[in-house]
């Protein structure tokens, strides 16, 4: 029987901070028990409601790191201290911590992995972006292993290039990843070849956020409740992973067509 009331509760913006081109962190007044990988539904009254992860937590406050991309994320980024948004959640299943983990982030997927890195300060964190201007959290995680597509910062290349040697050396127990789904698919395939577990946080269009509507379906999984973090066993069974996603109407399209918000590319 439904006992929990799934309704937004308003939270005030306390401060905001620019992280990179088009990327801004908003600190909101809220205490929350949150597992890295989970998400909240963020409501802007009379506009829309969308899922965001919590990129950092402190007593009495939580952070959203938002890429300015469409109407909603722009309105969200532009909220001033003192203004409020509605939050419901946290929802979903976060990362399951195991020994000898490596974190692999792509673009603003780092927002999802950031609180996991906070919890696992000694775990290596590989972070790839298209170019130097899209890097974020450089001060927060000075030990990040960086790469850029254009070589403007860190190693030139993809996060998989930094992950591969570690897998080959057999020093990896589990890979936690978040980023564009094509990147996560590449990370997963690599892990499969090395027999290493991979946990990936998927992104799908969401409505309820608590497992009722299956608008967020990927294979037979609801990304909002069964995920958003899935392990290798689950990813293996998901034909859609890395290939297809569904628009608001439920129409299935290629990932390219879906628009890959995590790539932080318009």
């Amino acid at each position: 029987m439904q006992r929990i009331v799934e309704q937004p509760v308003m939270a005030r913006v306390l401060e905001r901070r620019d992280e990179a081109a088009d990327l801004r962190t908003l600190w909101l007044e809220r205490d929350m028990a949150f597992q890295p990988g989970q998400f909240v539904m963020v409501w802007i009254p009379e506009l829309d409601e969308k899922p965001y992860t919590i990129s950092a937590l402190r007593p009495g406050r939580i952070a959203l790191t938002v890429r300015r991309r469409g109407v909603f994320s722009s309105r969200l980024s532009d909220l001033r201290p003192g203004e409020s948004v509605g939050l419901r959640g946290p929802y979903g299943k976060g990362y399951a911590i195991k020994p000898r983990g490596v974190l692999v982030a792509g673009g603003c997927g780092l927002a999802v992995l950031a609180p996991l890195k906070d919890a696992l300060p000694d775990a290596p964190l590989i972070f790839g972006a298209r170019t130097r201007g899209e890097l974020l959290f450089l001060d927060r995680f000075p030990d990040m292993l960086l790469c850029t597509d254009d070589g403007s910062a860190g190693q030139r290349g993809f996060p998989t290039d930094l992950l591969r040697p570690r897998l080959e050396r057999g020093e990896v127990g589990v890979v936690y990843t978040c980023g564009p789904e094509v990147m996560m698919k590449a990370v997963f395939d690599l892990c499969e070849r090395h027999g290493v577990e991979c946990q990936a946080a998927l992104e799908r269009y969401m409505k309820c956020g608590f497992g009722l509507c299956a608008q967020c379906a990927c294979g037979d999984q609801r990304v909002c409740l069964d995920g958003p973090v899935f392990d290798s066993a689950a990813l293996r069974r998901m034909e859609e992973f890395g290939h297809w996603a569904r628009l608001k109407s439920g129409r299935r399209v290629t990932l390219n067509e879906y628009g890959n918000w995590r790539s932080c590319r318009p």
Partner: protein
């Protein structure tokens, strides 16, 4: 052990539980999962002629006594649905296609195509309270409209037709009778109630983007039960009793009110996909303890 199998319009079901439309039913893979999890039959999310984005979010909330939603029939449209559900071979339970339209002609066009799929029946919700152009808001919740739409769909398919009615309808008996006369094979009672509203007092705004939405779950249960009881006295075709069922006792109440099968939707919110197996187990346990061997013995028992 009690025998939970039941037959609804000739459709054999392993148990009387039907996944209600709009809950989980977006894809073939999810329908398969619900059926494997124990649903005796599964219903697709309603399909319209063209793709629909539905209302903006928030679309689905809960309150202290149930669920409130104004999804607004988001669906990929009939063309895409024909691809999505072309092969239903791995769904272990019968599949019901839910079809909506803005008028009788559109209902018939969509139903005719959906009926070519390997589905067991076509459900016609004439009763959504929060989607302009459809259901209650399009005047489909009257005996006249029910007759016209049912007839139009009956003309294009020989498959069982389930007409889904609104708990708000004042002429519920007449609507059910009109459906029966026009060729409906069963009545699904009921769709969501209201509409209702939820206001966030800090934001000073209704929370649902559409402002109002249909109320389902626990809040709806006694009203749904009364609708089933009334319809059972009015028509001879079977009833799929739907609204607030979350336990085996609730399902048995529906059967006793006159339902042949029992829809389950909102209970997935609290109980997960596992809710079907749990409800079925609770039903079997109660039947064993009370010396009831078969589901048929329960149907309409509260009327005798």
């Amino acid at each position: 052990m009690a025998d939970l199998t039941t037959t609804l319009c000739g459709i054999r079901m392993a148990n009387p539980l039907v996944l209600a439309s709009g809950v989980l039913g977006t894809t073939r893979a999810i329908l398969t999962r619900a059926a494997r999890a124990g649903a005796g039959a599964v219903t697709m999310k309603s399909i319209s002629l063209e793709p629909r984005d539905g209302h903006p979010n928030p679309t689905i909330l809960t309150f202290e006594a149930g669920v409130i939603n104004a999804v607004g029939y988001s669906n990929p449209g009939v063309e895409e649905a024909l691809a999505e559900f072309a092969d239903l071979g791995d769904v272990p339970s019968p599949v019901i296609a839910s079809v909506v339209g803005r008028n009788a002609e559109e209902f018939a066009r969509v139903a005719e195509r959906m009926a070519r799929l390997p589905v067991a029946a076509i459900e016609l919700p004439l009763s959504c309270p929060h989607t302009p152009g459809y259901g209650t808001l399009a005047g489909q919740s009257t005996p006249e409209a029910t007759r016209e739409i049912t007839r139009a769909v009956r003309a294009v398919t020989a498959k069982p037709i389930f007409v889904k009615v609104s708990p708000n309808a004042q002429a519920l008996g007449e609507i059910a009778a009109a459906a029966e006369q026009a060729g409906a094979s069963a009545i699904t009672a009921v769709n969501s109630m209201g509409p209702g509203m939820v206001i966030n007092i800090e934001a000073r705004r209704p929370v649902l983007a559409f402002k109002m939405g249909g109320v389902t779950g626990a809040a709806l249960r006694p009203v749904a039960l009364r609708c089933v009881y009334d319809i059972y006295r009015t028509v001879r075709i079977p009833v799929i009793g739907t609204g607030g069922v979350a336990t085996g006792r609730h399902a048995i109440e529906m059967l006793m009110a006159g339902a042949t099968a029992v829809g389950v939707g909102s209970a997935v919110a609290g109980g997960g996909v596992e809710v079907f197996a749990r409800i079925a187990a609770e039903m079997a346990e109660w039947m064993d303890r009370n010396g009831v061997a078969r589901v048929e013995e329960l149907i309409g028992a509260a009327h005798r």
